[in-house]
Amino acid sequence: MSNVARTLPAHDWLVEKIFMGYRPGAYVRSFFTPANALVASIVGLGVPVIVYRFLFGLGSVTNLSQASPWGLWISFDVLCGVALAAGGYSMALAVYVFGLEKYHPVVRPAVLTGFLGYFFVVIGLLCDLGLPWHLPVPMVYSFGTLSVMFEVAWCVCLYLFTLAFEFTPPLFEWLNWPRARALAIKATIPLTIFGFMLSTMHQSSLGALFLIAKDKVHPLWYSPYVPLFFFVSSIAAGLSMVIFESALSHRIFHDRLDPSAHVDLDGITVGLARGASIVLFAYFFLKVQGFIASERWDLVNTPYGYWWLFEMLGFILAPSLLYAYGARHKHVGLLRAVAAWTVIGVVVNRLNVSLVAVNWSRPTAYIPTVYEVLVSVTIVTIGIQVFRWIVNRMPVLRDDPAFPVTH
């Protein structure tokens, strides 16, 4: 379709860069698809809820209470969002710093996912804050340096900008600004290292947030090592997201791929799976150590204990072994399924630590309202749309022929 449109004598920048070669009328008509109708109805329902929340307060749409101050928006939008966006730092480190060129085709989509992930984490956070316009306070003049939340706020803020800068090469290629692009490429290594440093700190700090709530978190999920658990599991989540998402992208956006460039996606998937298998096993081992140190064997034979065991075996050990098996036998289909399962496992872990384990001590269990779920779904949906918009226009999944790869 777009190839036909590109041959039309439309040299207008807008048509070429924004309308993807369509004439305005045809471009607008291209919106009317069943998928877009679904997106429009989700956003059409979700955005009014967000507006309502800001007009009438958090209590008007959420089940948050004095006993449960953190709900789905912190657990899913922030904790899960940050963990699942970890592919950005993992892949940038592997390709740019360690020089693993094989993974070059997936580094740009991973960085873009990271950037959008963090951007929408911040949007989710703004919905949850009681006084979001005070956000500059800890950034500018009142530094709560003893607070884990202060560290998280600073790291997430700096890392959001770092990811934005890391994504400038494809942006400048799209805008056809070769000099700016050359400058941006030079900044790749410092940005990647700075980004990894920030990620180490805030991925773990999101776990460290719960250290001070010692009496509130169920002992099976409370451990002095919880920051380490969060950091290591974020790597597994990031790698699995890259496996899952690259498979999806190559199916959905196959017209954006350069047919002449031979991308060995299966080889990349197997390599990433090997890495994820080892990381998951290390994560399992660390969790076992934390459990032994906690000396709470008595809690295993309880309903919470069964759920904890299910997470340990079903969501950590099983995918680790299945990844190893699939990588050994080059069973790419299995690896993709395991990747999706691992992503769900990390989401379950974050929800367990921040909601399930905290419900343990609450007088009444917190269960999110349908509105809270709707807002979370809306934010994810908008994020996917922005991803689509960018991937359809900028050289993310393919290299721009005008700008050969130089590393």
Partner: protein, 292 residues
């Protein structure tokens, strides 16, 4: 490959930036903790459940009229503090050995010696002042509610019903204290259940009461060690857990729980950049060799 001058400067620039931000744990270890600040001794054996303290508190903080003033029906359920009631009095059954059958206990912010909320706050909106009370600065608050997660006594309360929502809690009448006045609750207490003073003095007083009448008190001062020490201290003739108080709290200050995690920050900031620059240099050298 030789380490070029430019690369060397790059490494140093990243390292220096990391060091500049690494001055945190010094502050953590220098956490000032005065154990002799202003304090309150609550002797629950003397409380008559008149709720005069609730009225005075509401008045002093501009929180409007009380629910069911002077009506015993209020005690039928156990209430918690909320954004518009910084203190509440609840009724519990007294221990069988104790006279009278029922006990009343006042709840409010405990004003910890080392408060979890203040250490959790990213913007210093909650602050342990030099004078002693743990106070709240709404103009700094983000409304992140981490203080609520952190507080072992579940004291900070959030205005869920308002679009512009602040945290609310007892300030120990810090403003009245600075003018030399008693906290509003202590000023009106008719039965001597509330006694205001310096913490060390009140601990002496509490020990003396237990010593003088050992059969009339549980031999424990609640707040002396709980959460690393609080400014509000409780005496009782009925086990504290039966008065709705948490008795399984840690006796080390809660901010200490995050010290180890925060002390990892400067390590990461100083170790990661040079380590990764080194690995990058090796990776590039290997690649150049391959190309030759």
């Amino acid at each position: 490959m030789t380490l070029s001058r430019r690369t060397f400067f790059k490494i140093n620039a990243v390292g220096a930036a990391a060091l500049a931000g690494a001055a945190r744990p010094a502050e953590a270890s220098a956490r000032m903790a005065s154990h002799d600040g202003p304090a309150m001794l609550v002797d629950t054996t003397r409380c008559i459940g008149c709720r005069g303290c609730e009225t005075a508190c509401a008045e002093a903080n501009g929180n409007g009229a009380l629910e069911l003033p002077g009506d015993d029906a209020i005690f039928d359920r156990h209430r918690a503090t909320d954004p518009y009631h910084y203190t509440v009095v609840n009724r519990y059954a007294a221990a069988l050995s104790a006279p009278g059958g029922e006990r009343f206990i006042k709840t409010q912010c405990m004003h910890c010696v080392e408060p979890a909320c203040a250490s959790a706050c990213p913007a210093k909106a909650l602050e342990k002042t030099a004078a002693g009370p743990v106070v709240y600065h709404g103009e700094r608050c983000l409304g992140c509610r981490y203080c609520m997660m952190a507080c072992p006594f579940d004291i900070p309360k959030f205005e869920y019903s308002k679009p512009i929502a602040y945290i609310k809690k007892c300030s120990f009448c810090a403003e009245r204290q600075s003018r030399g006045l008693l906290p509003a609750c202590a000023e009106v207490c008719p039965s001597g259940a509330l006694q205001f003073g310096r913490r060390e003095t009140l601990l002496e007083e509490a020990r003396k009461r237990i010593y003088d009448r050992p059969n009339d008190y549980v031999h424990h001062i609640y707040g002396e060690a709980e959460a690393g020490g609080t400014s509000w201290l409780y005496l009782s003739d009925t086990p504290f857990e039966r008065l709705g108080l948490k008795t399984d709290l840690s006796t080390t200050p809660y901010p200490a729980l995050t010290d180890t995690a925060l002390s990892a920050v400067p390590v990461v900031m100083t170790l990661w950049p040079p380590l990764l620059m080194g690995l990058y240099t090796f990776a590039r050298e290997r690649k150049e060799e391959r190309h030759e």
